[in-house]
């Protein structure tokens, strides 16, 4: 019988040791192999994809990046491991965070519960990826701190604060930072909803980071376009057209914007 490959992510060394003990205790019923351990969220993002883990036992409170956001980024992976959250929160907090819709174990973990959760992950039918993502978004209760881009078998994180603008093109959204472009597969509408005030919509297909806006320029009409305003951004020479419909809202972003 092949072993189930498990990755343990917990910032407390005693908790990781305890999890190893528990996995050893259930070896008779379910053989597992620990393929990785990590004590911080960003490190998990780095090391998990190459580890071949089938199950991630993930502490919710971790430095670097919390477990909930981490799990949201893992969704981008082609063969993402099943995530089982482990938390020291009491049941009340679990409900408050809407975690009860997800697989979770409470610390201290009992062997029976661990075994049941691992068996469930083995038997998991086709995952309802979209539903899972929505539950995670609700559980997160706030905006992410990173966008993630899956590149082959790797997750590249882009800090939300680095993003200058997002532009929808056909199936993808181009995400522009001072360092370069990334493609993500998320609808602009949900990004606008998640990040609220951080981005302002200047066009049907474009969200701009408020903090990156330096001013507005009037563009004289040409033969094939009407005269319109465009956004001048810090960190990129590109000018983004503002749609006439959104201009009244957009011009308020800079208090000194001229009429």
């Amino acid at each position: 019988m092949s072993e189930l490959r498990v990755f343990i992510a917990d910032d407390e060394a005693p908790a990781r040791a305890r999890m190893q003990e528990l996995l050893a205790d259930i070896r008779g019923e379910l053989a597992t192999r620990v393929v990785g351990e990590s004590d911080n969220g960003l490190d998990v993002i780095d090391r998990l994809p190459g580890s071949g883990a089938q199950v991630l036992l993930l502490d919710i409170q971790m430095p670097g990046m919390g477990g909930i956001e981490l799990a949201r980024h893992l969704n981008a992976l082609e063969d993402a491991p099943t995530v089982i959250f482990v938390t020291a929160h009491d049941r009340h907090a679990v409900e408050a965070f809407e975690l009860n819709a997800l697989d979770y174990l409470m610390k201290p973990v009992r062997t029976e519960r661990l075994l049941a959760a691992l068996r469930k992950s083995l038997a998991a039918p086709e995952r309802d990826v979209r539903g899972h993502a929505e539950r995670l978004e609700r559980a997160a209760g706030g905006a992410r701190e990173f966008f993630s881009v899956a590149e082959r078998n790797r997750i590249v994180l882009v800090p939300v604060g680095d993003v200058l603008f997002l532009k929808a093109e056909l199936k993808y959204v181009t995400l522009r930072t001072a360092a370069g472009d990334h493609l993500i597969e998320e609808p602009l509408v949900s990004i606008e909803r998640e990040f609220g005030e951080r981005f302002v919509r200047v066009h049907r297909n474009c969200l701009v980071a408020r903090s990156a806006i330096r001013g507005f320029e009037r563009v004289a009409g040409g033969s094939d376009e009407e005269p319109h305003w465009s956004v001048v951004l810090e960190g990129t020479p590109e000018r983004l057209p503002v749609s006439r419909r959104l201009w009244p809202a957009v011009k308020g972003v800079l208090p000194e914007a001229r009429e």
């Binding site: 908790a15 610390k107 201290p108």
Partner: protein, 334 residues
């Protein structure tokens, strides 16, 4: 032992928007009138007639006064107590004078007499309400103290138990010690925090707390203690230091990826005890935890309940460090 201020706000005007206060004033003034009449009139029938007549004269200014006090209540609350009392009495006298000028002919007595009676009635009602507040407020203060008693974060308890479980097979002795530390900590947390404790006890408690955190966090937590000049006989409210240290670890060490230095310094300067707890200040963002200053407000309020205006608690960011300073009077058990 130094006295504990049981009454959080001994000198406050009654809340004139409170139905109970209004009802007490109404009944009180009418009872005063009845008593005055019974003293002067031995015949029951005449006394009753006189009471009806008198109340018809008293009620308009009384109701007008209460209505005005109701309107002016928020403003009166901000005035110092004795000035507020004077204002209330002046207001009642003014209303009595103006109603007297309207119904002057029907009223017995002249204007000075009406003013004196109005002032007396107002003073008696205020005095009664003051006694009433005083009688009830210790219970209020106690209830507030209990509500303010430090509550440890549940995640700390469960993580600690989990850490002990991990030790049981590998290092049973350390597991035993940790359980003993946990017991002491929870005994303190569950006890009444109404009494003052010695600084030595409080320091002992946070050393045990720190030992548990050290087990959980290992190298990530580096504690420094500066207690050489600590007045170990000083008295202070229980569980003031522990929540502060808990905060320092929760906000300054756990969310960070590196080593977090936490400093605890207690020293005596003259007749003051100075406490300083420092932890790394993590930029808000990645992994940091939202704080709502509940713990700080809570501790500040408890210090106020014990030391009144003589206690200070300040929290500030200083470069890369977050510091909480407490400054309380140095008192020893009598």
């Amino acid at each position: 032992m130094p006295s504990i201020r049981q009454n959080p706000n001994p000198e406050a005007l009654p809340d004139f928007r409170n139905l109970g206060v209004t009802a007490r004033a109404l009944i009180g003034v009418n009872l005063l009138a009845l008593a005055a009449i019974l003293v002067g009139e031995p015949d029951w029938g005449k006394a009753l007639n006189m009471f009806v007549l008198t109340t018809s004269l008293i009620e308009p200014p009384l109701l007008a006064s209460l209505a005005l006090l109701y309107v002016g209540a928020p403003w009166l609350m901000r005035v110092p107590y004795w000035a507020g009392c004077a204002l209330v009495i002046a207001l009642v006298m003014a209303i009595a004078a103006s109603t007297h000028s309207v119904v002057g002919d029907a009223a017995p007595g002249n204007l000075p007499r009406v003013l004196v009676l109005a002032a007396l009635a107002a003073a008696v009602v205020l005095a009664y309400l003051r006694l009433h507040t005083k009688a009830y407020s210790p219970a209020l203060a106690e209830a507030r103290l209990q509500a303010l008693q430090a509550r440890i974060r549940p995640h700390f308890l469960f993580n600690s138990l989990n850490a002990v479980l991990s030790l049981i097979r590998r290092d049973p002795r350390r597991a035993e010690r940790t359980l003993e530390d946990l017991s002491d900590l929870f005994r303190a947390l569950m006890s009444d925090s109404r009494d003052l404790v010695r600084l030595a006890d409080e320091v002992n408690l946070i050393e045990r707390y720190a030992a548990i955190e050290q087990l959980r966090l290992g190298d990530r937590l580096r504690m420094s203690w500066d207690l050489d000049n600590a007045p170990m006989d000083a008295m202070m409210p229980a569980l003031v230091l522990q929540p502060l240290l808990e905060n320092a670890v929760y906000h300054g060490v756990e969310p960070g990826t590196g080593t977090g230095d936490v400093l605890v310094r207690v020293a005596r300067r003259g007749d003051r005890v100075l406490v300083c707890i420092e932890n790394p200040w993590l930029q808000p963002g990645t992994g940091t935890r939202a704080g709502n200053h509940m713990a700080l407000d809570n501790i500040r309020e408890r210090l106020m309940l014990f030391f009144d205006d003589e206690a200070r608690l300040n929290a500030r960011v200083e470069g890369t460090r977050y510091c909480v300073d407490i400054d309380i009077p140095y008192r020893v058990r009598a």
